[in-house]
């Protein structure tokens, strides 16, 4: 962690992500207005001191809705990354440690999957699973498995021929113990960068899918869904789309910078 703080990208990413997360956390407990409270007299108001981001066609406070949507988007991203990470760790760990034919086959499959634009695969999975918040999480989670598995595999393969692993084997440690207790803690730094990239991709994918109407469905909130609502009022209330879009950009930018600062792509 300390050595990352020297990196400009990492510091900028930490700042942006930190602010976004604080706002999201506060938003879980308190928002300036009830995100769903309609007001007939306050429709499509421009941004002002009372309504920082203005109001939408139902007179709802857009600032509160964006905070709520950002929270939902972040949780979806976190859940998808968690699924991809855990399964990727297990698959990548085992294939990297044992190698062999299964390793070859799995890596060829993941190469092929990684060659495809993730949005296309996500759409296919949504076609199979159906729309909705939980299906988006599952679809993105599954899509993230290959990239995590690939990184874990190559790191484990690197680590397994080190002296500390030989030493552990000499002491009688079992293969599972060596893999999960000895090797895994050493690949955490590399994984942190991929986790940040994962969040970056997850936020973008959620926003895209929900914008296209195949992701999060009403009444569940999310930034992508807000954008698709905002599109209908682009002329009367451009601030709706712009403010929502800026929230998406900040989330993606923050995670992208974090990942880069930690030595990712």
């Amino acid at each position: 962690m300390k050595q990352y703080l020297k990196d400009k990208n990492f510091r900028a990413g930490l700042l942006i992500t930190g602010i976004m997360l604080c706002v999201i956390l506060i938003g879980l407990l308190w928002t300036p207005y009830d995100p769903n409270a309609m007001s007939g007299s306050e429709k499509l108001l421009k941004p002002s001191a009372a309504h920082l981001f203005g109001t939408d066609n139902f007179g709802r406070d857009i600032f509160s809705r964006v905070i709520q949507g950002a929270g939902a988007t972040f949780l979806i991203a976190a859940a998808a990354v968690a699924i991809g990470l855990v399964i990727g760790l297990i698959i990548g760990g085992l294939t990297g440690y044992y190698g062999g034919v299964l390793d070859e086959i799995l890596m060829r499959i993941s190469d092929t999957i990684l060659a495809f634009p993730s949005i296309l695969l996500a759409l296919v999975m949504i076609a199979i699973l159906g729309k909705g918040k939980y299906n988006i999480i599952i679809a993105l989670g599954i899509l993230f498995i290959p990239s995590f598995a690939r990184i874990v595999r190559s790191e484990v393969a690197k680590q397994k021929n080190t002296d500390y692993v030989r030493n552990a084997r000499l002491m009688g440690a079992s293969n599972m113990r060596i893999l999960f207790l000895h090797i895994m803690p050493n690949i955490v730094p590399v994984l942190l960068s991929s986790v940040a990239i994962g969040f970056n991709n997850a936020v973008l994918s959620e926003a895209s899918m929900s914008y296209l109407g195949v992701g999060v469905q009403p009444p569940d909130p999310s930034l992508g869904r807000l954008l698709s609502e905002a599109q209908g009022y682009l002329f009367q209330a451009p601030w709706y789309a712009i403010c929502t879009g800026l929230a998406i950009i900040l989330l993606i930018l923050g995670f992208g910078l974090l990942s880069e600062g930690m030595g990712g792509e």
Partner: protein
Amino acid sequence: MTYVLKKTGVLIISLILISLLAFLAFQIIPGDPTTKILGTDYTPERAEALREQLGLNDPLPARYLSWLKGLLQGDPGISYSYFMPVKEVMSGKIQVTAALSLLSWVLVMLFSIPLGILLARFEGGHFERAGIVLNQVFMAVPPFFLGMLFTYLFGLVLHWFMPGGYIPFSQSVPGALGYMFFPALAIAIPKAAKTAKLLRSSILNEMNKDYVRTAYSRGNSRWAVLRDHVLRNAMLPVITYLAMSLADTVAGSIIVEQVFALPGLGRLLLSAIGNRDFPVAQCIVVIIAFVVVFMNYLADIITQYVDPRVRLS
């Protein structure tokens, strides 16, 4: 030559596998399409007759083979929602998506190559620092959001084009391309930012090599060294990346078509998924997948052709 043959073999196997996977993926979805097609006309007898007509009663391998045969002959089945050949449903739509993704791909190259070179040329200066920050921000902008901004700014405020409007290619090619410019730009900008970044770091990486130092020591200017020595080598990874990014511009089209209401494959795919019209969805997925795999194949071949070192490793 053996390299090309080997890669071609892998390409053919991948294409077969993709068609099989795409077919199977849409077979595991539960539900009987006949209820959807017949709607209020549904009777068990009619449904049975329709199943027979669509070949749904055949065993799975036979259905796969007949579908694959149809696909290769340009007749990939019957749409469930329109109850007409998929071919007719898709007519005209492929051209829109193909033109849109190609146009944005060209824009990516037009922006990223000069930008990447300039960023590397002015390394360490204010121009570079500002450029990198801006580049980083553009990388984070989702194409569909850029599309919305363009619709607002150039469509609603400046009236440069009519949001939601479109002129088919059959009426006017310049008109159609005109309506595609802003969507293509929306797809291209984030991708161009990423490519420029890659090119910049590729050039800077190359600049640190011994042969470049030698060139400097002979009194060449930074521009001359860049132009005569570095670019050729630095472009290698970028060429591969560009070849593969056509796949991403196709994916970008799927989303951005929705923003500008362009009648392409993306909109059709979304409505097919929404209506559970699987023959159409399946066909679009396979077409796009083929493009992706083929571009990767081309990227491999180009890299090998330009850089013989790859052959050795």
